[in-house]
């Protein structure tokens, strides 16, 4: 399986799992819970607000939201984490890209309730108090942004790229960043930024090593 197929396979599979096959998964796990629940079939959650607990950039976030709320909307509208953007709202442009348990995910097509207990990283979680992440710094240094609306998604995708392939080749970078769209036309310099950042990005993080061992990818 090529990297590109892998990347798309991951996010779209996740989406399908949450959107369509969720009932099946719930039915399987509920078999061991109580007879009442098993007889009643899959547990119905909602439609009103339910408690949802997320771990975002290492911090616990307790929300009360409807089960249909996406991860992107939960963070943007309920937690004022507006760094990642909503652009296409259906998993085709990458502006909402976050890293969930070490893998990139289209947060516009991921339900918040489905990523409880997972490590969620957004663009806001990359910079230190006074320093930018090497990828962010590289984007600034080579002017890899214009209007900046696609930028958070590209930054996160580039971070994920370099955690997966610390010495990414241009071909690997192209494939890993192919899930993101820029309308101003900054691609040339984003590629420059990715190649520049890999020289300063440092050792891969723990999450990236999980990914490399195939644990996170399943």
């Amino acid at each position: 399986m090529s990297d590109k197929e892998d990347r798309f396979g991951v996010s779209r599979r996740d989406f399908l799992k949450s959107a369509g096959v969720g009932g099946l998964a719930t039915a399987v796990t509920s078999a061991g819970v109580t007879d009442v629940e098993a007889q009643a079939g899959p547990r119905v959650i909602g439609p009103g607000d339910v408690p949802v607990s997320l771990t975002v950039n290492g911090k616990r976030l307790e929300l009360r939201i409807e089960p249909r709320v996406t991860l992107l909307d939960a963070l943007r509208n309920r937690a004022d984490l507006t760094g990642n953007k909503r652009v296409c709202d259906r998993g085709s442009c990458g502006a909402c890209t976050m890293i969930v348990d070490g893998r990139t995910a289209y947060s516009c097509s991921t339900l918040a309730i489905d990523v409880q207990g997972k490590q969620i990283r957004t663009v806001e979680g990359l910079a230190g108090a006074n320093t930018l992440h090497p990828v962010q710094q590289a984007f600034c240094d080579v002017d890899a942004l214009m209007c900046g609306f696609c930028t958070p998604g590209f930054v996160v995708a580039t971070v994920a790229l370099l955690e997966k392939y610390p010495n990414a080749t241009p071909e690997q970078a192209r494939r890993e960043l192919d899930g993101n769209i820029c309308r101003c036309g900054t691609f040339v310099r984003i590629m420059e930024a990715a190649m520049k950042a890999k020289t300063v990005a440092g050792p891969p993080t723990r999450q990236a090593r999980w990914g490399d061992m195939g644990v996170a990818r399943g």
Binding site: E66, R68, V69, D73, R76, N77, D80, L81, T82, G83, N84, K85, R86, V87, C88, D89, R90, S92, C93, A95, T122, V123, E124, L126, A127, L132, Q136, F139, C140, D141, D143, L145, M146, C147, G148, F149, C150, T151, P152, V155, A173, R174, R175, L177, D178, G179, N180, I181, C182, R183, C184, G185, T186, F187, V188, R189, I190, M191
Partner: protein, 717 residues
């Protein structure tokens, strides 16, 4: 304030320290860190969400609007009708009503409960269909066509008599939408009768005027803020229906309302680039000089909007005639889109140019040189053809049709363009404070072009202080008037305004410090954070110490754009090399060379980014994007970003940018020109590779294959 005893003279410095260098975008760190707050990101206390109900029909009459069910839906705070019974709607997505609720999800639910009854009317979705006399009408009150421009120069009969060869063909380009990544939208908040609106707009002052007029309130009561905005490309100059609706919902609900369009609404109701068609008959002499152009053109700007474009483009036809017809269809209205009209006129003319060049068996570059306007400051094409051909390796180009065996054919193409980009009356304000800090205010806005950065560059250059000594305030109607950011006019308008204002402020400071330094004010210069004698550098004072002499009163100056610091008229030429798989019809671009000028370059880094961006936008126009309307239902079939195709990282070729410095011409805009000729250069390269001429954009694989088939069958080449 000006000094009566000296004549203010404004010029750009001969030896600048910042101007024309590569300065990093000032708001880069905020954007990469996700800290930059766009309109979409504004969250106000107590804010609720708006949602518009739109026509599902391309043409219909509203019979009734029932808001009752929506009004009582959970979380709903306001419901408004935007149309009345009896009103006619003219395109899918025409706004009809709106709701506001405490969450976005509930606003969407409530919008579905607005019951609109419709009387569907016959519609037209295709230009050719609309031009048929028997076709249904797009409107019950207007015809489907309207005579457009009519231009005639010289004598066509003489021109065709002089022609050794004549080409007669029909050429066309398609409709595309702007696809701003930040959709159009607004956050509106009332304080009594005063409105604050965060708008994703290219013109804060224009928007304030639009709100005031539509809402019937004084413009003084409207404040518009745009600190960051996610792309406009010509489609974001007014509050639009969504802005006015948002303000009304906010008033009604007595709460701030955020109303951002979704992706489908963005495609349907926020503008597009009109289509362009032309049936052209053109003649060329045996010596390769153009002799005659006879063009009948048409195109659609949607429901009641024009579709004019320049034709013929750029090249000198001594005898020419052009007659245009605007065609109306049931689709959203066009808006200016990055060099309005030029990509269309350029494509229609440039494909024809290669066909004519082949008839007289002259190399396309040489043929263009023979027929381009003579070299002038705003007309550098001949120079760019020559220099570009050398840089690009044009001598390796084979004649039309790649003779090498195998399915992958390679070809090169060339094309040229022009644009205006002149400056106009921006105003600005600067305060030099006693502590040495400087605040520059200008009511312009940064679309991502780098306006915030160039304002700061010009101020720092003029005052001789580092950029971090300047606080730049833009994107707010509380700052002095500056026009909308369109027509590539912003850099040419704003840079002179800042230069004039800062020069005036500096002269006041010179007058204040002259006695202390012991040099006449006229002989002072500011550079490197010091004010010193121009001839005697030993007499100087540090900037901060100079400002201390102000005591408690800052220097506070207003200024305005003046002629002489900006110019107008740019020229550019682009070269393209492509491969075409003649078995699949898939075109891949290998490399593009862009030769471009924009007068005095303010920030070389962001100017280059503009060129990269323009080229990539045109790659989309040439190969991928296409607004597809279903002619039976009148619906757009790809109002999204998975079937409305845009280039991704793998589709972007090597792009080389050559900027021609012309500092003596003053600042000229560069946002639009580089996006004009790329598509034509690509199409000509495809023709060179395959030997088949594709006379309509986009160059989708099926069209490439059809052209190759036609050519093999002894087609029109």
């Amino acid at each position: 304030m000006t000094w009566g005893w000296r004549v203010a003279k404004y010029t750009w410095p001969e030896k600048p320290t910042l101007l024309s260098t590569r300065v990093l975008r000032l708001d880069g760190p905020d954007k990469v860190a996700g800290r930059a707050r766009y309109t979409y990101d504004i969250n106000r206390p107590g804010m609720i969400y708006g949602r518009i109900v739109r026509s599902p029909y391309p043409h219909a009459r509203v019979t009734s609007i029932d808001l009752a069910a929506a009004q009582t839906a959970p979380g709903v705070k306001a419901v408004v009708a935007y149309r009345n019974p009896g009103d006619e709607v003219h395109y899918q997505g025409d706004p009809v009503a709106a709701v506001a609720a405490d969450t976005e999800e509930r606003a969407r639910d409530a919008a579905r409960l607005v019951r609109v009854r419709w009387e569907p009317l016959p519609h037209v979705s295709i230009e050719a269909q609309a031009m048929d006399a028997a076709a249904p009408k797009w409107s019950t009150t207007q015809e489907n066509t309207r005579p457009g421009v009519r231009q005639e120069t010289g004598n066509l009969e003489t021109g065709f008599n002089d022609a050794a060869h004549v080409v007669e063909q029909t050429y066309s380009t398609h409709v595309i939408t702007h696809v701003c990544l930040e959709t159009h939208g607004t956050v509106c908040e009332w304080d009594g009768d005063k409105l604050t609106a965060w708008v994703s707009t290219q013109g804060v002052h224009q928007c304030a005027q639009g709100f005031a007029q539509a809402l019937g309130i004084p413009q003084a009561n409207v404040r518009v803020i745009t600190q960051y905005m996610g792309g406009g490309f010509g489609s974001k100059f007014a509050p639009d229906s969504q802005g006015i609706i948002c303000a009304k919902l906010a008033k009604l609900a007595n709460a701030p309302v955020k109303l951002m369009l979704d992706r489908k609404e963005e495609h349907l109701d926020t503008g597009n680039r009109p289509s362009a068609f032309a049936h052209i008959r053109a003649g060329v002499s045996a010596e390769g000089k153009l002799t005659a152009f006879d063009g009948r053109s048409w195109g659609t700007g949607g429901a009641g909007a024009g579709s004019n474009f320049p034709l013929p483009y750029l090249y000198q036809f001594p005898n020419r005639k052009r007659v245009h017809t605007d065609v109306y269809i049931n689709a959203g209205q066009q808006r200016a889109m990055r060099a309005p009209g030029h990509p269309q006129g350029c494509f229609l003319t440039e494909i024809l140019m290669d066909e004519l060049a082949d008839r007289v068996k002259i190399d396309p570059v040489e043929f263009r040189i023979r027929n381009a306007p003579p070299i002038a400051p705003n007309a550098q094409w001949i120079k760019y053809f020559q220099e570009g051909a050398r840089r690009f390796g044009w001598e390796k180009r084979h004649p039309t049709g790649d003779p090498t065996p195998g399915p992958i054919k390679t070809g090169m193409g060339v094309s040229a363009h022009l644009w205006g980009g002149a400056g106009r009356g921006s105003t600005a304000h600067v305060d030099i404070n006693p502590d040495g800090s400087v605040v520059v205010k200008c009511g312009t806005q940064d679309l991502g072009t780098g306006t915030r950065t160039i304002v700061t560059i010009v101020a720092a250059e003029t005052l001789g202080v580092p950029m971090n000594a300047i606080t730049t305030e833009i994107g707010d109607t509380q700052y002095p008037f500056s026009g909308g950011s369109g027509g590539s006019t912003t850099a040419a308008s704003v840079s002179p305004a800042i230069r004039v204002t800062c020069t005036d402020a500096l002269n006041q400071l010179f007058a204040k410090v002259a006695p202390t330094v012991g040099v006449q004010p006229d002989d002072l210069v500011a550079e490197g954070g010091r004010i010193r004698g121009a001839t005697d550098a030993s007499k100087s004072v540090a900037w901060k110490d100079a400002c201390k002499l102000l005591g408690t009163e800052p220097i506070s100056v207003d200024g305005k754009w003046q002629d002489g610091l900006s110019g107008a008229g740019t020229s550019g030429v682009q070269f393209s090399e492509v491969t075409v798989d003649i078995e699949t019809g898939i075109v891949r671009i290998k490399r593009i060379l862009a030769m471009q000028d924009c007068g005095l370059i303010v920030d070389r880094l962001t100017a280059e980014s503009q060129v990269y961006g323009g080229v990539i936008a045109a790659i989309n126009f040439a190969l991928y994007e296409d607004r597809l309307l279903d002619r039976v239902t009148g619906q757009m079939v790809n109002p999204n970003m998975e079937f409305y195709l845009l280039a991704g990282m793998s589709d972007v070729p090597q792009i080389d940018v050559v900027l021609n410095d012309m500092p003596e011409r003053g600042v000229i805009g560069i946002g639009e020109p580089p996006t004009v000729s790329t598509a034509s250069a690509i199409a000509n390269a495809v023709r060179n590779a395959t030997g088949a001429t594709i006379r309509s954009l986009p160059l989708h694989p099926h069209k490439v294959l059809a052209a190759i088939e036609q050519q093999r069958a002894g087609g029109t080449n």
